[in-house]
Amino acid sequence: MQLNSNVPSGPLEGKWDRYKFDLKKVNPANKRKFEVIVVGTGLAGGSAAATMADLGYHVKNFCIQDTPRRAHSIAAQGGINAAKNYPGDGDSVYNLFYDTIKGGDYRAREANVYRLAQNANAIIDHCVATGVPFAREYGGLHANRSFGGAQVSRTFYARGQTGQQLLLGVYGQLSRQIGLGGVEMYARRDILDIVIVDGCARGVICRNLVTGEIERHSAHAVVLATGGYDNVYFLSTSGMHSNVSACWAAYKKGAAFANPCYTQIHPTCITVHGDYQSKLTLMSESLRNDGRIWVPKKAGDNRSPEQIPENERDYYLERKYPSFGNLVPRDVASRNAKMACDEGRGVGNTGLAVYLDFTEAIQRDGEDVIRAKYGNLFQMYDKIQDEDPYKVPMKIYPAIHYVMGGTWVDYNLMTTRNGLFCLGGANFSDHGANRLGASALMQGLSDGYFVLPYTIGGYLATQSLTDVDTSHQAFKDSETQLNEKLNKLMNINGKRTVDDIHKELGHYMWEYCGMARNDAGLKEGIQKISALREEFWQNVNVTGSSKDFNQTLEKGYRLADYLEFGELLARDALTREESCGGHFREESQTEENEAKRDDENFCHVAAWEYAGEGKTPILNKEPLVFESVKLTQRSYK
């Protein structure tokens, strides 16, 4: 497999402008002749669909939920970064680029990250123009706050629900295009296969989740914006319907999957309770602006927090990382929480929690100020934990929250399969081995509003695509295969429920492929996942009919894909014998237990290629070339 990143040459600052100029364009009248399928209606998919329709393309947009307004971008809380320098603290595009590439532990492409930083300001302007009510100062101008891995305040926010407001902004733009007829919207659909004709992606096969009908849709190009695969861990902060299935189908049709082992464990989530638990809830990173993280100095100290005097508390992040304090990047904060708990200094019933304490901030600013900033988050915590965080410190613990890995794409956001593009959280491109807070929203909107609408023109203008409709043999073959798979699943009639098996998979992923990984554990994990996959195909119980609204079947085929994908994730982690960002190999750490990279052997993107059923996937490497920044051991001390 050839991995050509298509990154333009020349100075970093001018790459994107020159590239846009050089891209072949489709004139407005000709755009109407092209149909594009967009899968997903989150920040990336929704904005791409709306913008392409605005440009004149005919767009078919698909989503799992009952309406495009519910994609999981909606759950992002804290904010979105941009280098506006409104607070006057010396921020710049280069600074945002530098923080992002360093935050990703030098495992992302320079040119992509720089373009992201360049687009960030235009994103804010466009969002405000579309009515996103970002927080304002009393003078009427925008307010900013700080996020991890940065020493400037560059994060725009709308209370504790920035993702919601950004997504509703996108939904407004998308709705306008649906009303105008530029976008045909297909809600409650699962994309289960990508159809390839003459080497190019020309359509999708999807399941109508209401009727169970299998549908065929053709187009000139296919865009996947289906979010991350966090739910391979069962418990994550992702929405319950989040899945890897469309990207996994793409992988089997020639789209390489990059860096699946780069998973993000967010340091501040509400702690796990009970085996009935269905998902985890994040407490925004923005809380670390005012909250202080601590554990008792002494192991086994089970006094209640207010009884532990100041000099017997260990504010370990402030102690170990004085220049960033509580605002170190997520991977660093998570590992330190784990270390504190491993030392027996964890708090709460399970000992798997640390305190996030607002006492000082409330004394300093007053409860009203804290409420105005984080009210909805405090309320959410209170509802779940039944404890008032204005009075008692929050108990938090790291949890799977995001994945940096994803479908491999070039500078155009095109995968290794012609005509198949991938955007936002579903691709691997901009966050390296660790994503900084408030950068996911930025990437989704950058890809959808300001990158794909240009680069897809470059693709369409240079292809001579024949007319293909859904009666083509490739559609028939794909549908037949899919029906066979669904029938097989419906007829196992085993003894275990889908959720039960999914929980077991999640347990293996967390145990062997979670916050700390090692050679022996990963090998064992791979064996267990493989054995579980066999059990699934013999012992799962999917009730009802496939030609019906059947949520068990939906969960079943998503889990079938996760059982294959989980093994690839572990294999990638096993192969990458270095620590970087969120990927922590115990064999590769500094004396101070920080992640230790091995730039000589692992400064590359690992892009996995499907080799056929039952065959070991092929590892392809895209070397990462750094022309602008110097690789150093990341330090936040």
Partner: protein, 255 residues
Amino acid sequence: MEEKFINLTLKVWRQKLGEKKGKIETYQAKNISTDASFLEMLDIVNDDLTIKGIEPIAFDHDCREGICGMCGQVVNGYAHGEEKGTTLCQLHMRRFKDGDTVFVEPFRAKAFKVVKDLVVDRSAFDKIIQAGGYITAKAGGAPDANNLPVTYETCELAMNGAECIGCGACVAACPNASAMLFVGAKISHLALLPQGRPEAAKRALAMVRTMDSCGFGNCSNERECEASCPKNIEITNIARLNREFLSAGVCSTAM
């Protein structure tokens, strides 16, 4: 509160896909942790039904943290349950007592058809937004975000409307199945902001027209919508909608 384990009798609405009628079935929810959410309780019941070979109860849900707006059922007569300002996914079993009987039904309204069991079709909300619940702006031509100052208070008021999650509880709670709170929240959000003013009149007329054509009823000031709204959206938004609609009808050329 200490975690306890309780048993409940559920009376659940079951309705097959494509059928116009359904009926209440009785199920037992056994050994439910009071720390579980209402939807997690339904997960446990569904796993139990699956093992017994009974098709699980279909219900909508996704984020399970109160923001996506996908979940929603009528629990003991209340949309999202009796607790104020709470989506169903954030309602916890500690609000119930051991031995309780709990009625679980779909959101009901002429404009929301039942798809299956507790799942309803709320696409009428999308149609209303498609009619005008947006600001027209091309990606690329926007002025600097700080060019249009908005006072802190105005921004907060706009945000109060913008918080709507589109769950439909307001419609389910209203005796007229009116969507005025939903529409009022979006109209307020956009009409309060200076960038939303150029289209305000056209927007109000188009959204109200579509709301009526979708089969939603009118507002008769019962305030049930406000009481059931999981985001505590106030009916002052309906007053603002009425003002915007009236002035659009009287003063504007945007008919």
